[in-house]
């Protein structure tokens, strides 16, 4: 087929592109993923009973803010990676800011703590299950985020997959915060982060073949 014939084929009877509808469709898929993560959290783990007490503690909000800023950051980066020619710029570096702030808090907490209680600040009571729980909670959002990304056109598929995975991981961490009793900054800076990095890593690996077009 000559190029001119291909052009005629592509242009013939071309249908209008409804950007609004495409955005609604993506929002609906992401909404379903988020709902899946929330339902999984409520039905599988349940909301902690002492949530009202926990909400009085600054570290509870710091934990939520940590996951929420990473969520917004990952969403922003994923959005830019989803369209050809969008500048990603320094947005990925901005993702390091909440991590560094939390690590600073963790360093202060460890520095002020008595030596014998430092182990508890780092390991808490649930370090063995925290990352895997966050990764499992993120699964519905993970599927949704990659699904939406697949309908777009990332020119860096692995990176786009990683950003989608981090977005899902941050949602998982946010949901997990309503169950998990751990509030120590060192714990969150290690195990929550690890939990979010599992889907990010998986997204990067899957993205490098799933998101090609």
């Amino acid at each position: 087929m000559k190029t001119d014939q291909l052009i005629t084929l592509l242009a013939n009877g071309v249908s209008a592109v409804d950007g609004q509808q495409a955005r609604r469709h993506s929002a609906m898929i992401l909404g379903c993923g988020t709902l899946g993560t929330v339902l999984l959290m409520v039905m599988w783990l349940g909301v902690r009973r002492d949530l009202a007490d926990a909400a009085l503690l600054p570290m509870f909000w710091a934990k939520l803010a940590f996951a929420a800023t990473l969520l917004v950051g990952a969403y922003t980066v994923a959005l830019r990676l989803s369209r050809p020619g969008m500048r990603v710029g320094h947005a990925p570096l901005a993702l390091a800011v909440p991590v560094l702030v939390l690590w600073l808090l963790a360093a202060v907490a460890l520095g002020m703590a008595a030596p014998e209680s430092r182990g508890y600040l780092i390991l808490g009571v649930s370090w063995q299950v925290c990352p895997i729980n966050i990764a499992l909670l993120s699964a519905p959002s993970f599927v949704a985020a990659l699904w939406v990304m697949r309908s777009l056109a990332p020119v860096r598929p692995a990176l786009a997959g990683a950003a989608s995975g981090l977005f899902a991981g941050a949602l998982g961490a946010l949901a997990y915060s309503f169950y998990c009793p751990e509030l120590a900054a060192p714990f969150i800076g290690i195990w929550y982060l690890l939990g979010m990095l599992i889907p990010a890593l998986a997204g990067g690996m899957i993205g490098s073949w799933l998101l090609r077009w």
Partner: protein, 191 residues
Amino acid sequence: MSVNANVDVNVNGTEIRLRALLLRGLAGESAAYQQFLQDLSGRLRAFLRGRLAGLPDEVEDLVQETLLAVHNQRHTYDAAQPLTAWVYAIARYKMIDMLRRRAKRDALHDPLDDELAVFTASDQDAGDARRDIAGLLDQLSDGQRLPIIYTKLEGRSVAEAAQLTGMSESAVKVAVHRGLKKLALLIRNAS
């Protein structure tokens, strides 16, 4: 300096004109869209010929592959974004993809980041594509191939195609969309 200024003006003129044509095409104006693709194909050909000096046989195949990619991903163009950047990113992606597939790693050492160059020259003299897209079209399932043939090759309306295939009109549109995406996949796998 003045030469550069001239190039900038030309690039800008092309950007403005092509962008206007694409936006009309996105609104469903077939003639404007055809003109957009026609003009774009010339720009892509010149750009890719310059970049693939060592692989002249690949150029026309890659022009076609990029045009199909532009068409299939046209919903990702944001009107607030420079068209040059969008087209360049797609062309570059498809070129690197092709080079990877050829597994000629030495070819990747070319500097590939010259965004403005994509609109600086045009070459309407199409060489022959080596790959036959019509042949690949035959590999699609009837459910995707027939809607494409009716609406795209024979120029029938969606309603007519729906009647001929016994599908609903929206199913015909979806089949065309999916079929052209499948075609892009077949092209990738064929080379």
